[in-house]
């Protein structure tokens, strides 16, 4: 078989696995949140049914061509991010399309979906969407700073822009993980991660009490289904990225699931306990402690 086709097939397999994992972990996380609230919460498979339901809707209305494309953009952002991240270290087939400068592309893809969404949301004509998008963009910009600085610090540390190589450099024991070798960058990255996951206190984008529910206000039926798929894939892609950057990657799916789950739980852990920041507060917050830590991380890894 042509290696490229094989590569594509394996990439599709990755997407499939990640999608299912994403949906299940989404259900489980909501269940955990519900447990803290002392109730049972949804069945863990509820996200599946929701997606089927949304695709089963019979009517849909359109607000124009960008409105159609926006969910696709968003999903592309998620899948794109995933496809350029090496998923399983040491397994050629699950390297996806990782290449030597993939770290930069990945940072770009973080933004890509949001931008696509911005276009679509603007076209949907709902003011809440517009406000949500502007909030989303400002917040992404804000947390992108510590995120980039953290990544930069790691790039300097490992002297590479290739995720696979960063992972490779962390092999050989827990203490080799960047989390321990570069704690400053790790803190900056993990703080940025909170906003990247869009949970409290940084969930001002959706904020049901203020602008129900932000950018996807007008999306429904199949469109919403696409967004939901993305909502399953995108966080997992980010989780895999953070796992690769900080926690030594994974050599098999089991390890991946365990590690990503715990990273996920970090955002849940914070999210359950805190209310949300206003957008100006979260921007200011990211321009504060995380930024300084990020700068410090770069400085430290460059000069020490």
């Amino acid at each position: 078989m042509d290696p490229l086709i094989k590569q594509i097939l394996f990439a599709l397999l990755t997407i499939f696995i990640v999608l299912n994992y994403g949906l299940i972990v989404q259900g489980i996380v909501r269940k955990i949140g519900a447990r803290v609230g002392r109730r049972y919460g949804i069945p863990f498979y509820q996200p599946y049914i929701d997606i089927i339901k949304n695709y089963s809707k019979r009517t849909r209305i359109s607000h124009g061509i960008m409105y159609y494309i926006a969910p696709v953009f968003r999903l592309t952002g998620g899948i794109g991010l995933l496809l350029f991240i090496p998923v399983i270290f040491g397994n050629n087939m699950f390297q996806n399309f990782s290449f030597s400068g993939d770290l930069l592309l990945i940072l770009y893809f973080q933004f890509f979906g949001v931008l696509g969404m911005a276009l679509g949301a603007a076209e949907s004509g709902h003011p809440n969407s517009a406000i949500g998008v502007s909030r989303g963009l400002s917040q992404v910009t804000a947390y992108e700073l510590p995120l980039t600085l953290g990544v930069l610090s790691l790039a300097v540390q490992y002297n590479t822009l290739n995720v696979s190589e960063i992972v490779a450099a962390q092999q050989g024991g827990i203490l080799n993980w960047s989390f321990f070798t570069n704690p400053l960058a790790s803190i900056a990255l993990l703080l940025a991660f909170l906003a990247a996951m869009g949970r409290s206190p940084f969930d001002v984008v959706l904020a049901p009490q203020e602008i129900p529910i932000g950018p996807p206000t007008e999306f429904h039926s199949g469109f919403l289904g696409v967004l939901q798929l993305n909502r399953a894939i995108f966080p997992i892609a980010k989780l895999i990225l953070f796992m690769n950057l900080l926690f030594g990657g994974a050599t098999n799916w089991g390890e991946l699931i365990i590690k990503t789950f715990f990273i996920y739980m970090w955002s849940v852990f914070v999210g359950v306990a805190f209310p949300r920041f206003r957008v100006d507060q979260s921007v200011r917050w990211y321009l504060g402690v995380p930024l300084i830590i990020g700068v410090a991380a770069v400085v430290v890894s460059k000069f020490f």
Binding site: G37, N128, A273, F277, R284, G288
Partner: protein, 395 residues
């Protein structure tokens, strides 16, 4: 450290206010965004709406729209006999119907010259305090929820529900109790009630400690609520502000103390106050008021007579003619002074009943003022912190 980045805002782009303190808004300038909050909006307390004009994230102008819940109670009561008004008054304010029942019944009793039996007084006080407790519990969840902290609402709504179970046991109704009937109350405590109530109160106290830790000792919550939405002290009388909103500003307005009714003179409590009425202060006043309610319920259950008549002798309710006259009966509800102004012309039907809901002033004139220059994100929090219930505005 983030103070470093607290750059002073450049407000040169913001428009000047005119003499009325408002801004001349020209929507066609493309500077402004008009936004409707509600009625279908999760951040709005109940079914009402705010017409907001935004400049950036900041509210430039706001108009409250009410009337989505208007049922014409005051008109309906004019064509119902007095007893027939009794089941409908509780519908005026859904989360705490008992204050309506009490105010209606006491106004009517005053006009008719009826003295209710002692144990009925105690039971009424008990029910009013239970209602206060239940209402505050739901409110606290709402306040946290308005700032995006759902977990508090999960806990406190359960606590409220446990109070509703007690209500159900005592009054026969879950939400609409229809318990304080003109002339008295509709039932004695069922057996084992006190014990179950005590269990509830213990659990409430225990959970409220958690709420304090998670909500009130919370950096983000403080950041959102401290110095936000301040009610100035000199607004209190200017806007007719009552209840916790006023008490948080240091003005101890509490009808329970000022014009004591029922058995409040025999209970030991103080009006809860704070210093400057921002969102956090108001939340804190309500939390302490809630705990005081717990204490009051305990006091009532310890002191109340175990047996006794529950309803005074009244004329046949089917043709009860209340002597002509007018009166105003008020009670302290969770939001402030709740009052019924009743005019009787001596017939079987009330001539006019006017309901004073504290939200009337809080949600319209006060909110419209406070919301100016407020951030879009804070509207929900601000509105909840005024504790408004739309149904009592429009009735």
């Amino acid at each position: 450290m983030s103070k470093l980045f607290n750059i002073k805002e450049d407000r040169s782009l913001f428009p000047e206010k005119n003499e009325q303190g408002k801004i001349d808004i020209d929507l066609s300038s493309h500077k402004y965004l008009k936004l409707w909050h509600g009625p279908q909006h999760p951040g709005i307390t109940g079914n009402m709406s705010l017409e907001i004009t935004l400049l950036g994230d900041e509210v430039m102008d706001c108009e409250t729209h009410v009337g989505y819940l208007h049922r014409g109670f005051e008109k309906l009561m004019e064509r119902r006999k007095y007893i027939q008004c009794f089941p409908i008054v509780c519908r005026v304010a859904v989360p705490e119907p008992d204050f309506n029942e009490y105010c209606f019944a006491s106004a009517m009793e005053e006009l008719a010259g009826i003295e209710i039996p002692e144990s009925a007084k105690w039971l009424r006080t008990l029910v009013l305090e239970m209602a206060r407790l239940a209402s505050y519990l739901m409110w606290i969840g709402g306040q946290a929820g308005a700032f995006g902290q759902g977990i508090i609402g999960q806990w406190t709504n359960y606590l409220r529900d446990s109070m509703l179970d007690r209500f159900e046991e005592l009054t026969g109704g879950r939400v609409y109790h229809m318990y304080i009937i003109p002339g008295g109350v509709r039932g004695l405590l069922p057996s084992g009630f006190k014990q179950r109530m005590e269990e509830n109160l213990k659990f409430i106290e225990q959970m409220m400690k958690d709420v304090e830790r998670v909500m009130f000792n919370n950096a983000v919550f403080k950041k959102r609520s401290v110095d936000m939405g301040i009610i100035e002290k000199d607004w209190i009388y200017k806007f007719g502000i009552t209840g916790p909103n006023a008490r948080a500003a240091g003005v101890p307005l509490d009808v329970r103390k000022d014009n004591p009714y029922l058995v409040y003179p025999q209970l030991d409590f103080e009006a809860v106050t704070a210093t400057h009425s921002d969102i956090y202060n108001r939340a804190d006043v309500r939390r302490r008021d809630l705990l005081m309610s717990v204490d009051l319920i305990r006091q009532i259950m310890a002191k109340m007579p175990q047996k006794g008549e529950i309803r005074a002798e009244t004329p046949n309710v089917l043709h009860w003619k209340v002597p002509a006259g007018e009166t105003y009966s008020k009670a302290e509800c969770t939001r402030g002074e709740y009052g019924y102004y009743m005019v009787s012309d001596g017939s079987e039907y009330p001539r006019r009943i006017n309901v004073r809901g504290p939200s009337y002033t809080h949600a319209v004139s006060l909110l419209e003022k406070m919301i100016i220059n407020c951030n879009l994100a804070d509207i929900a929090g601000l509105m909840v912190s005024l504790h408004t219930y739309p149904p009592e505005i429009e009735r």
